[in-house]
Amino acid sequence: MSSPHVMLQGKGCAPGDFEGEVVVSQQPFGFWQGIDPQTGMVIDKRHDLCGTSLKGKVFFFPYGRGSTGTPGIFLEAVRNGCAPAAIVNMKSEPMIVMCALLAEAFFNVRIPIVDGLDGNSRAVLRTGDRVRVNGTTGAIEVISRG
């Protein structure tokens, strides 16, 4: 059993500070056709999280598969209060960073994004852990284990 208060350091990509439960995926993810913006559920049948809700969660996925239409679905989820509350990636594609910037500009919702986590860091985070994400400093703190 790992001790809590593990600190991980990534790179801050979109500002904001959030503490909550993490959902971890090992697969790349695309919001366009990947999430139901009315509920926050993953609907991509090819994805390991299909049927899981991302609403209000810290969502870890390695990297994005982004269509240019991504903010359409993402902001619809933000508008409905069903988007993830923070995003952590190994490599954040511009498309997802653009989503967070737009959410703040048009819906006044901050969704911190941290990227640059390596393979070891990924192994540390487990679904159900409670973590704190700082999108400015890139710090991720594991507060308690799920």
Partner: protein, 413 residues
């Protein structure tokens, strides 16, 4: 980022809310990706023109901007909408849905967006020049503008494109910089494939390249000649299966007159050999369905050119598509008009096929049709169909697509 005095004034709100919000977003984006400054753009092309993409969130954003007096600062064209504005009832689009798309059209119109409703704006309305900086989204148009025309744009997201249109500039990073446009991965065609490279191999090769390239810049050698439409099909497939925003085809595209030029004198980081085996395997991957009866055949993704309309008309001349089968051809309004003048539309319609103008198979709500099996000659459509239309999809050549519409059956590759 280095900002000009004018840009600081805009960020202080001296030029109104839309400008302040739009530039604020673009500057933050530039900061996140290490841009040194903003760069003026010649034009914008926006993808959030479709209700399927924009949704109610988009209507809310556009309504707010219009209320605040937003006007685009550079030539800005619209991607396809989610309805054929003239024929949406024929395509069983629910009236409430069409009404929301019409609302988006009205809001974009008030901001000064040219209602082109096409994914191929580079053919007529919004033609970039070599070396010009642009603020475009729509992955298939971005890859064409960068690769075939030598213009410079990152793959902007929906609404970021609107921000770029409102301020007339984008943060300078990525594909705006010469050093980021150099090739990284080499795709080398085997001599026998190179010698007999068929028309429908272009989207297949694009699909393969997209899968293997990720977000790097691919360079393809061994293509001896390529038409405008073949390059369009190749790029659209690569941009869908991967995130390819720029490719170089040695001897074909303008920044790749030689292999050395394509790679900017650096060696490739990876070399991938492509033979007939890869083409056949990819074609099978693009077909997520079994041989058998067909419900719908979709061609014109990206939007058909006048050359393609002639080809469809020639293949359909004097024939009749199979009872109960739909053949849908997507194009923009200018091509429709010209095809009508040339008599192609009459031939196509007499055969029982339908034109779908200013919209896209990928974007229309097609649930009411209950389609099970679809055939297309588009790598992009083949990539998205299983989720957008919810039907099995078979990839085939243009000729085989028309044949499937005539016989009502298709064989998977």
């Amino acid at each position: 980022m280095q900002l000009t005095d004018e840009e600081r004034r805009i960020l202080d709100g001296a030029c109104g809310e839309p400008q302040r919000i739009a530039l604020g977003v673009l500057v933050k984006l530039g900061d996140a990706y290490g841009a040194d400054r903003m760069v003026e753009i010649a034009s914008a092309h926006i993808v959030g023109s479709s209700y399927q993409i924009a949704g109610e969130a988009g209507i809310e954003i556009y309504s707010q901007l219009v209320e605040q007096g937003a006007r685009v600062k550079v030539r800005t064209t619209s991607d396809p909408g989610s309805i054929d504005f003239a024929r949406w009832r024929e395509f069983k689009t629910p009236a409430a849905y069409a009404e929301r798309q019409i609302k988006i059209a009205e809001l974009l119109g008030r901001m000064g967006v040219i209602p082109t409703w096409t994914c191929t704006p580079y053919t007529t309305f919004n033609v970039p020049r070599f070396g010009e900086d642009l603020g475009w989204s729509e992955s298939s148009a971005v890859v064409f503008a960068n690769s075939v025309l030598g213009a410079r744009t990152n793959r902007l997201a929906a609404y970021i494109d609107v921000c770029a249109a409102l301020v007339g500039s984008v943060p300078r990073f990525g594909l705006h910089l010469a050093e980021c446009r150099r090739g990284e991965v080499l795709f080398d065609l085997a001599p026998d494939l190179s010698e007999n490279f068929e028309d429908h191999f272009f989207p297949v090769l694009g699909f393969f390249v997209g899968q293997r390239t990720g977000d790097r810049v691919p360079v393809i050698t061994g293509i001896r000649r390529a038409t405008f439409d073949q390059l369009k099909a190749f790029g659209a497939a690569a941009a869908a299966s991967g995130s390819v925003a720029l490719y170089h085809m040695v001897g074909i595209t303008p920044e790749a007159r030689t292999l050395e030029e394509a790679f900017g004198a650096r060696p490739p980081v990876e070399r991938i050999a492509v033979g007939r085996r890869e083409i056949v395997f990819t074609m099978q991957q693009m077909s997520k369905g079994e041989s058998g009866a067909v419900d719908v055949v979709g061609v014109g993704c990206p939007h058909a050119s006048i050359d393609q309309m002639r080809r469809y008309a020639t293949l359909l001349q004097g024939k009749r598509i199979h009872a109960g089968i739909e053949l849908w051809i997507c194009a923009n309004t200018v091509v429709e008009d010209m095809a009508r003048k040339m008599g192609y539309v009459e031939t196509i319609e007499q055969a029982g096929a339908k034109l779908m103008v200013g919209t896209c198979h990928n974007d229309c709500p097609l649930g009411a049709w209950g389609f099970h099996r679809l055939v297309t000659d588009s790598g992009k459509f083949a990539y998205y169909t299983p989720t957008t239309v919810g039907a099995e999809c078979i990839f085939a050549s243009t000729e085989a697509c028309i044949e499937a519409a005539l016989t009502g059956r298709v064989e998977r590759p």
